[in-house]
Amino acid sequence: MSDATAVKVREIRALIARHKRWDIVFGTIGVLSLMIGVLTFTVLFLDMLIDGAPRLTWDFLTSFPSRKPGQAGILSAWVGSTMVMIVTICAAVPLGVGAGVYLEEYAPKNWMTDLIEINVTNLAGVPSIVYGLLALGLFVYQFGLGQSVLTAGLTLALLILPVIIVATREAIRSIPAAIREGSYALGATKWQTAAYHIIPYSLPGILTGVIIGLARAIGETAPIITVGALTFIAFLPPAPLQAEPPFISFEWLLSGFTVMPIQMFNWTSRPEAAFQSNAAAAGVVLLVMTLSMNALAIYIRYRLRKNIKW
């Protein structure tokens, strides 16, 4: 009896040793696979940094593009990106948050709501270039907005709308029902509850979504090309603030423009190596911008998870 058990235990131990080898093999493969991602990213960043380092000067940020690679800069590109982002924020944030609040707080359970929900999920999967085609047909020609800052900003707003809607809904959903009930119990209306409680409490979550959406928008190239951004722009759109009355001008909205990723694309597709190092420098600036925005969003979410325990 005891002998039989001993034999059995020995067999089991041999079996486990054999099987555990696979655990180690797979664990190693898993780490290596992760390392491929880390390595690719590191090489990508270093390669661009080395190629672009000589061009990363203050002049690069304050010069217009030029036929001479040594004098070219990204002034019109980052100014253009900033203006487009302003339009995108103004359009996407109210629409996205409004839609999110409607779907979570107001929407009745009917086919219309279902339709909107299916739509939001599907829109998130539409390739960005298709948004470009929509904007080309609708904003540029149908509405006659032309190839302008306004068109580009609205296009990117539509593109990131699903991101903001989903983030808003998730943030609202994490608010416990007790808070809502507390507000209603005091006689508040739906909108008062939403405006004074729901939206303020879900603000960090919404902010995360907005930042991730903007990080995506600022790096988007394809839809902006499709809309027809000019690739060579040696001027700035008219300033929104003027020295003379009425002091505020909206001309910049309809101005031609270029943005960072398009400037980079333009330089990348030039055969001269000198332009390519301009592309690398622009790429470093772009990458730092998008990555710091993403990192900020991840950090806010991390803090959020840590701090709030309802």
Partner: protein, 305 residues
Amino acid sequence: MPENFVSDRLARRRLRHVQERIIEFILFLAACISVATTVGIVLILLRESYVFFQQVPLWDFLTDTQWTPLFSEARYGILPLLSGTLVSSAVALLVAIPLGTIIAIYLSEFAPFALREVAKPFLELLGGVPTIVYGYFALLFVTPLLQKIFPELPGFNLLSAGLVMGVMIIPYVSSVSEDAMRAVPMALREGSYAMGATRFQTALRVVTPAAFSGIAAAYILGISRAVGETMILAVAAGMQPNLTWNPMEPAATITAYIVQVALGDLPYGSIGYQTIFAAGLTLALMTLFFNVLGHALRKRFRQAY
């Protein structure tokens, strides 16, 4: 006086009610923008494509092996663009699916807590890199590197664009797959471990099959990403339509063609202008198919647990 007081309150209540309804309606309109976007996409693509297909028979579009709409002797066969799209996507998926799956299994079943906490945000960052940056990397780093192995590889080729696109898609595949695996109830894992299974056996024989439809959805969303990706291909695979199944050749994809036309100056309403909408419609239908399939699978997975 008291009567006045009551009617005053009633009036204020009515005003508040009207206000509430107006706000609700405005929020409803905001929600409808997403539907309007979809309707807009469908209408614009269909309208321009309709004009296009009045001049080019659908049969020619689907079977002609040449795509030369900008030449004087114009031919409108989508096949060359389709082949470029499919080959580059295939290369990308050969990278993204195995690596994405392994990373997902590793992070969900093997990795220590601390590593997972670091790796997940990192993968998210990887997904946040602008695609034009990946395009630069493919053209000016990966292609020269590959040329050291294959000296006759041309400067533009589907292989390097596809490989880099694969790395870009890894985070999408791994995060959706990992979510599916983590959603598998702990009770199933405990059941497997209680039978004396190792981690690898549990991951392979219980968790992966249980999360199958979620993982399949991740793959399909990855495919949809690859088919719709634009800048990496426009930069690194060239813009020359080329009916080929060889990833070592340059070839334009549907997306790269749209970029090429948009960069030029085509007059509104010309047939050249309409081609990009016909190409866009093809692309939209392909991604729609994959998205619907992916969401159906995800839904089925959610119902199972």
